[in-house]
Structure formats: structure tokens, C-alpha cells
């Protein structure tokens, strides 16, 4: 009896000890690598679109699991992670900080990955690649694009007997008078260089030259545009969101506190969810032309950190998300428009896509220290317009010279 028990015990121990060495008759679960993806907080529509895109990625690459992290203050949280040498595997990079992060040496050069996997950059709009390029290397790929377009509220326009959105600056001026006569604020736009700069372009000036090496804030055309903008703030044709008791221009537009605003594709899902009546009454057009058309476009990219743990899987993810298939899913719900020419424009975003392709739609200069220029411009602009009886020419000059003084090359 004792011998039987001993034999059984020995056999059991042998099975347990040798089991890992034996070739498995049963197929083992595939090894699943988890990569972390850090993004910033967004609207429910954006989150849903991203979740869908991630789900399709995971279905296609079942051995890679994506762990989504939504940062509340992405830039600050990423800075802390970079400093600790523990960045996520993949993360969003906003155009405005891309060159700062490249300059800090925290981003991984994707050139070798792009070359080894024959990933073509040809379908990408070059201006959306530019914020992520430096010294012949590329540190991120644009996940989408978002140009500023003019949005109008048909209901409010009808009250002033306006049938169509203004095509030119002159038409805008005429319509503004009609709306003001009906005590309707024509345009809600923040005193922000990332909005008003669009008019600098359409007036024939701009924020910077195409290589971002030189400021255009001192040109006569930019000064003329700034005078027109500040004149509108003085006449009441432009009001800031805070003047209309709103947190941002989209909220003021949604609350029907203004007839027009100028935002990107992010406005549509916001209105759809929060102000459905205004969403139904919304019409879109390119911004009114001055000397020619003009708008500003923004982008954000996917990057890998220099210290990211799983660069290979991270690159697989970026390839998919910035490839035609992933970008189609991501942009299909219309939170942004594609940064690739081979991805179809989502339904309802033809105007945004048209503006994105326009040759006078430019990206603001994503130069190192850009935040200082923005801060200088915005602070001075808000200071000037807080006085009811400001001198337009003087105020314009003060704002532009403040921004010029903060330009990094100075």
C-alpha cells in the first residue's frame, strides 16, 4: 500500500516538474504584449471614435493590447513621465509642443522604422508632417487635421434676413451691420493668435513665412488685418467668449449668443451632443476671403518616446492608426478630418476638407518657444479690447509688437 502511494506520488511530482519541458499537445494562448497609449481628454464622440479604432487595431493585431490613458493635463503629465524616463509607448503630440519636445530630445526618431517597413509618407499633406520634422528626421505622424472654417447659425442669420454665409470680408462687414441692428452678436471669436491669425493670411500677410524662420507680424498686410480685427472688436462685430459669458466660442455659438464662429471639426460633435437644435441650424463655409482665401490648420500626431519600452509594437500601432485603414475609422465619425489624401472625407465635413486642401491654409509656426508668442499676443489683445473706447490703430500696433518682441529669434 505504502509502495503504491509512493509510486503515485513520485509519478505526480514527475509530471508536475516535467510538464513545462514537454511539447504541449494543447495550443498555448498567444503571448499578448500590452502597449500604453497616452492621450488628452476629449469629447465623448472623440473617445468613442478612438475606442473603435483601437478595437479594430486589436482585432487585426491580437497579440498587441492597447492600454488607453487619458491625461487631464497631457503636456504636464508627459513632461513628468519623460523626466522619469518612463514615457508611454505611444502618445499624442500636439503640433504646438512638437518642436519643443524634439528639441528636448524626448521623442524617438521614426525614420528607421518608416524606412524598414516601407511606410509611405506620400499620402500625407506636407504641412501636417512639418511640425514633427527636424533636421531630416521625423518624430511623429499626423493622426488627423483640423482647419478653421466659418460656422453660421441659420436661425439667427434669418432674423437679419441673411441667406448665405459671407464669402468675402466686405460681405462679412455688411452682414455684421445687419446683425448688430437686430442686436445679434455677429461673430464670437477669442482674441487668440491661433484664431485671428487666419485673417492675417487671407489679407495677404500671415504669422510667419513658410519655413517658419521669419515672423510676418510686421508686414503691412498683417497690420491691415489686425486693424480690421480690432475694429470689429470695437464695433461689437466680434465678441470674445468671456464677453458672452461662455467658456469658449463653440459654447457661445451653441447657446445662440452669436451668429457666426470660426472653429474646426471638433465643434460638430460638441454641438450635436450639447446643442442639437443649433447643430441642425448650422451651416459651414470657408472663412471670408480678403486678398485671397486663408485659414489656419492644426494637427496632432502619434509619437514614441526615446525611453518608451516597446518601440516595435508602438510602431505597429502608429502604422495602423496613421495608415489609410486606421485613419478612416478614426475620422469616420467626424471629430477631425484625415491628414492623408487617400482617406475619404467623413460625411458632413466637405467644407472642412475643402479648406484643408486650400493652398492658403497654413499651420501656425510650431517653433520652439511658440507658447511665449501666443501668450504675449493674447494677453495684449485681451487687455486692449477690455477698454470700450480703444484706439484701433494704436491697439493693433501694441498687440503685434508684443507678439513680435516675444518671437524666439529676438
Amino acid at each position: 500500500m505504502l509502495r503504491k502511494r509512493f509510486t503515485f506520488g513520485a509519478a505526480l511530482a514527475a509530471v508536475i516538474l516535467l510538464a513545462p519541458l514537454a511539447p504541449s499537445a494543447i495550443a498555448a494562448d498567444p503571448v499578448v504584449n500590452t502597449i500604453t497609449l497616452a492621450t488628452w481628454g476629449s469629447s465623448p464622440a472623440e473617445t468613442a471614435a478612438l475606442t473603435d479604432a483601437i478595437a479594430t487595431f486589436q482585432a487585426r493585431f491580437p497579440n498587441i493590447k492597447v492600454d488607453l490613458i487619458t491625461d487631464t493635463d497631457h503636456s504636464a503629465q508627459m513632461a513628468a513621465k519623460f523626466a522619469a524616463h518612463t514615457p508611454p509607448d505611444v502618445f499624442y503630440v500636439d503640433w504646438s509642443v512638437a518642436q519643443d519636445w524634439i528639441n528636448q530630445g524626448v521623442l524617438y526618431d521614426l525614420s528607421s522604422s518608416i524606412a524598414s517597413s516601407n511606410f509611405s509618407l506620400a499620402p500625407f499633406n506636407k504641412s501636417y508632417l512639418k511640425p514633427f520634422q527636424s533636421g531630416g528626421a521625423i518624430y511623429g505622424l499626423p493622426k488627423d487635421a483640423n482647419p478653421l472654417v466659418l460656422e453660421g447659425n441659420k436661425t439667427l442669420m434669418a432674423k437679419a434676413k441673411i441667406k448665405a454665409l459671407p464669402k468675402t470680408i466686405k460681405e462679412f462687414d455688411l452682414q455684421a451691420k445687419l446683425l448688430l441692428a437686430k442686436k445679434i452678436t455677429p461673430m464670437c471669436v477669442d482674441a487668440d493668435l491661433n484664431r485671428l491669425g487666419a485673417f492675417f493670411v487671407s489679407f495677404g500677410g500671415g504669422i510667419s513665412n513658410s519655413s517658419w524662420s521669419q515672423s510676418l507680424l510686421g508686414t503691412a498686410q498683417t497690420k491691415a488685418a489686425m486693424n480690421w480685427v480690432m475694429g470689429n472688436y470695437k464695433s461689437g462685430a466680434f465678441r470674445t467668449p468671456s464677453q458672452l459669458s461662455a467658456g469658449w466660442a463653440g459654447e457661445a455659438f451653441g447657446k445662440a449668443k452669436c451668429a457666426y464662429t470660426m472653429e474646426g471639426a471638433w465643434l460638430d460633435p460638441f454641438l450635436h451632443d450639447s446643442f442639437p437644435a443649433v447643430f441642425k441650424a448650422m451651416v459651414k463655409a470657408p472663412l471670408p476671403t480678403g486678398k485671397h482665401t486663408g485659414s489656419l490648420a492644426f494637427t496632432a500626431g502619434y509619437s514614441i518616446g526615446k525611453d518608451s519600452a516597446d518601440k516595435a509594437d508602438a510602431w505597429t500601432f502608429i502604422q495602423y492608426m496613421t495608415g489609410a485603414r486606421g485613419m478612416t475609422i478614426w475620422t469616420s465619425q467626424g471629430v477631425a478630418i484625415p491628414s492623408r489624401s487617400d482617406v475619404p472625407t467623413p460625411f458632413g465635413y466637405d467644407v472642412n476638407a475643402l479648406v484643408a486642401k486650400d493652398k492658403y491654409t497654413v499651420s501656425p509656426p510650431a517653433i520652439v518657444g511658440w507658447s511665449k508668442v501666443i501668450d504675449a499676443f493674447n494677453n495684449q489683445a485681451k487687455k486692449q479690447i477690455q477698454n470700450k473706447k480703444f484706439n484701433v490703430a494704436k491697439a493693433s500696433a501694441v498687440v503685434l509688437s508684443a507678439a513680435q518682441a516675444a518671437w524666439p529669434s529676438n
Binding site: 493635463d73 503636456s75 504636464a76 513632461a79 519623460f82 523626466a83 524616463h85 509642443v97 519643443d100 519636445w101 528636448q104 530630445g105 524626448v106 470674445t240 468671456s242 464677453q243 458672452l244 459669458s245 526615446k306 518657444g369 507658447s371 511665449k372 501666443i374 501668450d375 493674447n378 494677453n379 495684449q380 485681451k382 487687455k383 477690455q386 470700450k388
Partner: protein, 316 residues
């Protein structure tokens, strides 16, 4: 045996007493060693590390070259930083006396024998425990051009659109900081009330009774008996209030954004540190500002300690 016999009889007791004292000291030091080590590493150590960082051009991945005092020079040559000092000091100068006076007033109120004193005590303290972000957001709504505050003004006949700031209290550089003073005076007064209340309840009532029997009026009792006896609370409230005020950050960034707009009227020293660190990624500069802020706070605290006299901070 002989040695023991020749020793004085109390030497054994003395030795045992010494041993007991050593044991107690050992246990005592053992208990505080962990928090003390954490304090030394995370507070004192970090302070010296910040001094070290401030002498370097320091990016997100670490040092990028020794620069000596250049970060300090850069800070003092930046008009926005100088404005942030001015804003922080102005804010502290305004908010500390106001929150102190309001806290004292509330403490006297809830310390008196009024009906519902416990309810009022809780009600006055509530803003102090509420989330700063939530309270500030609420305040942004209240002070918006179409907000409740302007509606009340309109009710009393004020033509709000014709006001110098057109009713935009938080987005006008002339009223933004003052609005934050009003907000924080309200939110912090509850905490100040508690400090005063604790001190008020520790005052021997017989002193006041003696004053009254000697013919002192209620006002005289308050000014000549109560107020001097509240000196430790005054010192604590003013010092802690000033330290907190000079570190204003959350209300400033929520109301004015990271750029402290308009006209940098809400740019405080701590917000400037945030910008240097997380928007410009100049950790060396941010550390230098942190050290400058420490020097300002430390100097003002010493000044207050001197002004209040040693009896205040000793709690006598």
C-alpha cells in the same frame, strides 16, 4: 561583591534610570526616524536638489550644462516674472487682512450664544473643504457678464454694460485679481474661523468677567482683553494665510488660463513656475523661481515672527 558594596546605594538606581531614559530615547527616536527620514529626503533634500537644478540648464531628460546664476538673472530680467511677483504680493497684501478679519468676525459670531451656532459653524467652514476647482468654476459663472453678480447689480439699478469693465470681472485686467481676492477671502475664512475659535475657547472667561466688573464696556473688553489674548492665533492665521496666498495657483489658472490673462493680471509666481516647467520645459528656471519664492516667503515669515514677538509663536 566588594565593588558593589563600596558603591553608594543610589548608584544602581541612577544607572537604571539612565538606562530607562536611554531606552525611552531610543524608542522615541525609533518612532520618529521614519517620518524624519521622509522629511529630510522629501523636503530638505528636495530643497537642496532644487538649488542644484537651478544652477543648470535642465531639460526634461536632465542637465544640459552648468549655467551658474543665469536662471536667476533670466528670471529677474523677465517683465512677466516681475509682474508675477507684483501680483502675488498684491494678492497676499489684500487677501490676508481680509480673510483674517472675516475669520475673526465669524469666530466671534459662532462663539457667542446665538441660536444655531453649530449650524453656522459648519456652514461657514463648508467653502474651505469644498474643492477649489469646483468653487472657482462656480465663481466664474457667478462673475460672468450675464452671471448672478451682475444681475444683482442690475437689480439695484447699476448699468452693468456701462461699467468700466462691462461686467467682465474675471476677464478684465483691472478686476481679475481683485475678484480672486474676493473668492479666496470667502473660501479661506472658514479655516481662519476655526483657528480663532480654538483660541477663543481656550481663553479663561474670568479675565473678561473681571474686566466687566471693573467697568469695561464690551468694546473695551474685546480690544484690551480678547484681542491681546488672541495673539498666538493672529500670528498663526496671518503667517499661514500669507504662505498660502503667495502660493496662489489653482484659482489663477482656472480663471485666467495658463497665461494668466488678460495682461498677465493673474500670472502668479507659482503659475510662472508651471509655465517654465510644463510649457517651456525649463526645469532649471522653474527651480530658480521656486528658490526665489522660498526666500520671499521665508523672509516675510521671519518678519512676521519679529513683528508679533516671541510670545505669539510660543503660544504664550
Amino acid at each position: 561583591m566588594l565593588a558593589v558594596a563600596t558603591r553608594p546605594p543610589n548608584s544602581v538606581a541612577a544607572r537604571q534610570k539612565r538606562r530607562r531614559m536611554w531606552n525611552e530615547a531610543f524608542v522615541g527616536w525609533g518612532f520618529i526616524s521614519v517620518p524624519m527620514a521622509l522629511f529630510l529626503v522629501l523636503s530638505v533634500g528636495i530643497f537642496f536638489y532644487a538649488i542644484y537644478i537651478s544652477t543648470y540648464k535642465w531639460g526634461m531628460l536632465g542637465p544640459r550644462g552648468f549655467v551658474g546664476l543665469k536662471n536667476y538673472k533670466q528670471a529677474f530680467h523677465d517683465p512677466i516674472f516681475l509682474k508675477s511677483i507684483r501680483n502675488s504680493v498684491l494678492y497676499a497684501v489684500l487677501v490676508v487682512p481680509l480673510q483674517t478679519a472675516l475669520g475673526l468676525l465669524l469666530a466671534l459670531l459662532v462663539n457667542s450664544k446665538i441660536k444655531g451656532a453649530k449650524f453656522f459653524r459648519a456652514a461657514f467652514y463648508f467653502p474651505s473643504i469644498a474643492s477649489s476647482a469646483a468653487i472657482t468654476t462656480l465663481f466664474i459663472f457667478l462673475l460672468a457678464p450675464a452671471g448672478l453678480f451682475n444681475q444683482v447689480l442690475s437689480f439695484f439699478g447699476v448699468n452693468v454694460p456701462n461699467l468700466f469693465n462691462q461686467g467682465a470681472w474675471l476677464s478684465d485686467s483691472r478686476t481679475a485679481l481683485l475678484s480672486i481676492v474676493g473668492l479666496n477671502m470667502w473660501t479661506t475664512s472658514g479655516t481662519m474661523m476655526l483657528f480663532y475659535l480654538a483660541n477663543l475657547q481656550s481663553i479663561d472667561g474670568s479675565l473678561m468677567e473681571a474686566g466687566v466688573m471693573d467697568g469695561a464696556t464690551r468694546r473695551q473688553v474685546f480690544w484690551y482683553i480678547t484681542m491681546p489674548l488672541l495673539k498666538p492665533a493672529h500670528f498663526f492665521v496671518v503667517t499661514s494665510g500669507m504662505i498660502g496666498a503667495l502660493q496662489l495657483y489653482d484659482q489663477a489658472i482656472l480663471a485666467g488660463g495658463a497665461d494668466g490673462s488678460p495682461d498677465y493680471s493673474l500670472m502668479t509666481m507659482v503659475l510662472y513656475i508651471y509655465n517654465a516647467c510644463f510649457r517651456q520645459f525649463e526645469f532649471g528656471l522653474a527651480s530658480a523661481i521656486g528658490i526665489i519664492l522660498f526666500v520671499i516667503i521665508f523672509s516675510l515669515t521671519l518678519l512676521q515672527r519679529f513683528a508679533f514677538g516671541s510670545s505669539a509663536w510660543r503660544g504664550e
